[in-house]
């Protein structure tokens, strides 16, 4: 039925396009993840406040959760970008040789900046909800115990709530970061040259649709797997796991099992 011709892919220009695609996907992810995290902490903190701040946070959360990411990207690209001050737009339109990654991937372009911003804001809202869930999963008795010891509200947050919230929420948070990476594929619709865009370019260049999309699929799967493993390894470990026990072995004055 099919005759696969992979040669069309590991020769130039297809190979160059694919490489640029991978670099772009990774660059967008690496840029958006920290930005999303910072925004998420701000939103989560506002959510815990009272009055106008809390309702603003809730409004933002509901707005970004109930509209498609694609629509948000189109908005930022067509409406948001157009509303920027002229001097900013001119600066972005200039060529910036210092901000170009190896196979010719420019970072200071409207497409890249809009993609990073749009993805970060969208993901931040979901991250904030996961943080909130993680916080409320901490048994209320521990909060009482901390208050009874004389800790202030901020201290309770710092020493009791947040450490456990991150422990509880790390898996879902990693899930959201992986989502961000996969959703970067939507930026192809505003012209960002990431993996999906390049796969389509190859397809329209030599009509090798199946091969191009097969490679694209495998690339996303591999990046997803690697990213997931890395983030889990970097994140907080469950108390009582082997890594932490080793780090605290020096505390045990006398011998004896931890159990």
């Amino acid at each position: 039925m099919f005759v696969f011709d992979w040669g069309g892919l590991y020769h130039q220009p297809a190979l160059g396009w694919l490489t640029a695609g991978v670099v772009t996907t990774l660059a967008v992810t690496v840029a958006a993840v920290p930005l999303a995290s910072i925004l998420a902490v701000v939103i989560a903190a506002l959510r815990l406040e009272r009055g106008l701040l809390r309702w603003s946070a809730i409004a933002v959360i509901e707005l970004f959760r109930n509209t498609p990411l694609l629509v948000q990207l189109l908005f930022w690209y067509f409406a948001g970008f157009a509303a920027l001050p002229r001097s900013w737009k001119r600066w972005i339109a200039d060529s910036h040789p210092w901000a170009v990654l190896p196979p010719g991937v420019p970072l200071v372009t409207p497409e890249f900046l809009v993609a990073v911003w749009g993805l970060a804001v969208f993901t931040a809202v979901f991250l904030a909800e996961e943080i909130r869930t993680g916080l409320s999963a901490v048994p209320a008795g521990q909060i009482e115990a901390a208050r009874a010891q004389g800790f202030s509200r901020i201290d309770v947050l710092r020493f009791v709530l947040l450490p456990q919230a991150f422990l509880n929420a790390w898996q879902p948070l990693v899930g959201q970061f992986l989502n961000l990476m996969k959703l970067s594929s939507l930026a192809s619709s505003i012209g960002l040259g990431e993996i999906t865009y390049q796969a389509r370019t190859i397809e329209s260049y030599n009509a090798h649709a199946v091969e191009a999309f097969a490679v694209g699929t495998v690339l996303y799967l591999i990046i997803g797997l690697a990213m997931g493993r890395l983030l889990i390894w970097l994140g907080p470990q469950r108390p009582g796991s082997r890594r932490r026990a080793a780090a605290e072995a020096h505390l045990v004055e006398t011998g004896g099992d931890a159990l």
Partner: protein, 258 residues
């Protein structure tokens, strides 16, 4: 147990009342607890026993009346003053409420490091000493989920003792424990009671009360119905309701005719 007849009043309740919405949890309680006293508060469920001690360190706020500690009014304290008071009062919860993400040693030393400001080494030393005192010298690196209920409660007692409080409050410390672990916790409480610290214990454990209490306070429907020394309380209770409560404690399968 220290002779307390002439000791200064440590905690005073004056006309204290507490409302939860439409429900009156505490009605007009007047009570004085002397320095170094061990007082056991008992009563049927819903009588307001837990609420009463939670009012002392502000975990609940009073609706009426005053509470004084060392002669100073504490019932209206807020913010920094309240936190300062709380560092002088140790509280042991029915559900232990240990910090799940910290080891036993860290549970005990956290406040020492973050409130008292001890160096990590000094805090750790004090924590290990306290864990030894409650019989858990071999478990400093264990997490709460790795410990039995009795062990967790003993860590909780060590944590309550960490800041050298002059008042210790116990809210039904053994009610959530399996029977075979009650003894180890009561043993620790016995040792603490003999150290001269002012202790208020809400409990159903009448054996403990008989052995160690200087006074037993019987609370019923938010009021102090009876208070007496253990000998008098167990042998000659004055009120009918007290008698009924005591007989139910002694023989739980016994039905109506008390």
């Amino acid at each position: 147990m220290v002779p307390v007849e002439n000791a200064a009043p440590k905690i005073e309740f004056r006309g204290v009342a507490k409302r939860h919405g439409a429900v009156q949890a505490i009605r007009g309680v007047d009570l004085t607890i002397r320095s170094g006293e061990v007082v056991v508060i008992c009563g049927p469920s819903g009588s307001g026993k837990s609420t009463l001690i939670r009012l002392i360190n502000g975990l609940e706020t009073i609706s009426d009346g005053e509470i004084l500690v060392d002669g100073a009014l504490v019932s209206s304290l807020r913010g920094k003053a309240l936190r300062s008071l709380r560092t002088r009062i140790g509280f042991v919860f029915q559900q232990f409420n240990l910090y799940a993400h910290l080891t036993a040693e860290e549970n005990v030393s956290l406040a020492l490091r973050r409130i008292t400001g001890l160096t990590p080494a000094a805090a750790r030393d004090r924590a290990l000493g306290l864990l030894d005192r409650v019989g858990l010298a071999d478990k400093p690196a264990s997490f709460p989920h790795q410990l039995s209920g009795g062990q967790q409660q003993r860590v909780a007692i060590a944590r309550a003792l960490a800041m050298n409080p002059d008042i210790l409050l116990f809210d039904e410390p053994t009610s959530a424990l399996d029977p075979e672990m009650i003894g180890e916790v009561l043993g620790v409480m016995r040792e603490v009671a003999r150290s001269g610290i002012t202790m208020i214990v809400v409990t159903h454990e009448m054996g403990f009360a008989r052995q160690l209490a200087d006074r037993i306070v019987f609370l019923d429907e938010g009021r102090v119905l009876e208070e007496a020394s253990p000998e008098q309380f167990f042998s000659a209770p004055v009120h009918e309701r007290t008698r009924r409560f005591l007989s139910q404690i002694r023989s739980p399968l016994h039905t109506t005719d008390g």
